[in-house]
Symmetry: C2
Subunit: 191 residues, 2 copies
């Protein structure tokens, strides 16, 4: 039996390292991720991980961290979502166990920035979601700014992903159909 917050969902992400060596960086990162707890499909525009929430999150975070290079500016657009009509997020049968990449990336630290937008499509209370996400980001010490369409985050990579994952955990239990769209950024030359 899956744990109650082990909700099936997906994340579609696009990794963009701004370096002439982008092919090695992207493919190297994707290969390094242990994906045995998710179903993974890579296409021209994005990679999609499907499975239970914690394993999807674990894979996306690991991919970002494996692609990190000191001094190389990189963005990742990552849309965590569930509930699309016609969608059946499928993943491996295993429904419990440790997130397989946590050991490899859980002790890596570097500063990063992010923006995070919440889309609620099932008539659920967006305002309540927004308020909750803002509270989580503030508690975790990563809230840098608020715009009508997004929250701006800043902090250590572990804290920022903690925040996105806490937001997802909450949303996935409260909303039947939602998307949490994040843009992650490291080594931006813009102060």
């Amino acid at each position: 039996m899956p744990l109650p917050d082990h909700v099936p969902m997906s994340c579609r992400f696009t990794l963009s390292p701004m370096s002439d060596r982008f092919v090695d960086i992207i493919l190297g990162a994707i290969e390094k991720v242990d994906t045995h707890m998710v179903r993974s499909k890579t296409g021209k525009l994005s990679t999609m991980y499907e499975g239970l929430r914690p394993y999807v999150e674990d894979g996306v975070k690991a991919c970002f961290i494996h692609a990190y290079r000191p001094g190389v500016h990189m963005t990742m657009e990552a849309v965590y979502s569930k509930g699309w009509p016609g969608e059946k997020p499928e993943g491996p049968e295993a429904e419990e166990g440790e997130a397989p990449n946590a050991g490899a990336v859980g002790q890596v630290h570097f500063p990063m920035a992010a923006k995070m937008s919440l889309y609620v499509m099932d008539g659920g209370e967006w305002a309540k979601g927004r308020e909750t996400l803002e509270g989580l980001a503030r508690e975790l010490g990563v809230l840098e700014g608020e715009e009508p369409d997004c929250l701006v985050l800043n902090g250590d990579v572990q804290q920022v992903f903690d925040c996105v994952e806490a937001a997802n955990r909450w949303c996935a239990q409260v909303f039947g159909w939602y998307a949490l769209a994040a843009t992650f950024s490291v080594n931006s030359p813009t102060a």
Copy 2:
């Protein structure tokens, strides 16, 4: 008086050229766009254009095309939206007139790919929107694939932007609060 489909909206976009020369490419493109018909704010994570729909679209398309370099892989994440609580898209007073960048970029051609996701937050009919967008993409000859969460587009840069703009024009009139999130990509080494 603005034309009926000259709806105030915004687009927040992040440009990621995968090249060691990314700073010159991004800043060069942003500087080349004639922004006198929009309000523009550039931050660490994204640039935001606000104004009337056709001028916002014109600016985003021009920025992407000015950043294009033969052989350089590049993505742009662009979220066109309107209706966020607390949002007041503001733009210049001028409400009519030609899109100022159309002349500079309207004759440029290169192949590109895109994905496009529709989020409807005001209780409007997402399914109707999705069907309409699919029809527009098919009519314009750029529909490559359909996923539950997005449409995949492929074609000449002019056709792909025509499709995104037609989608926006329709959505902006039908939905009070929506987002159309597009990821544009050129020169991907993945076949």
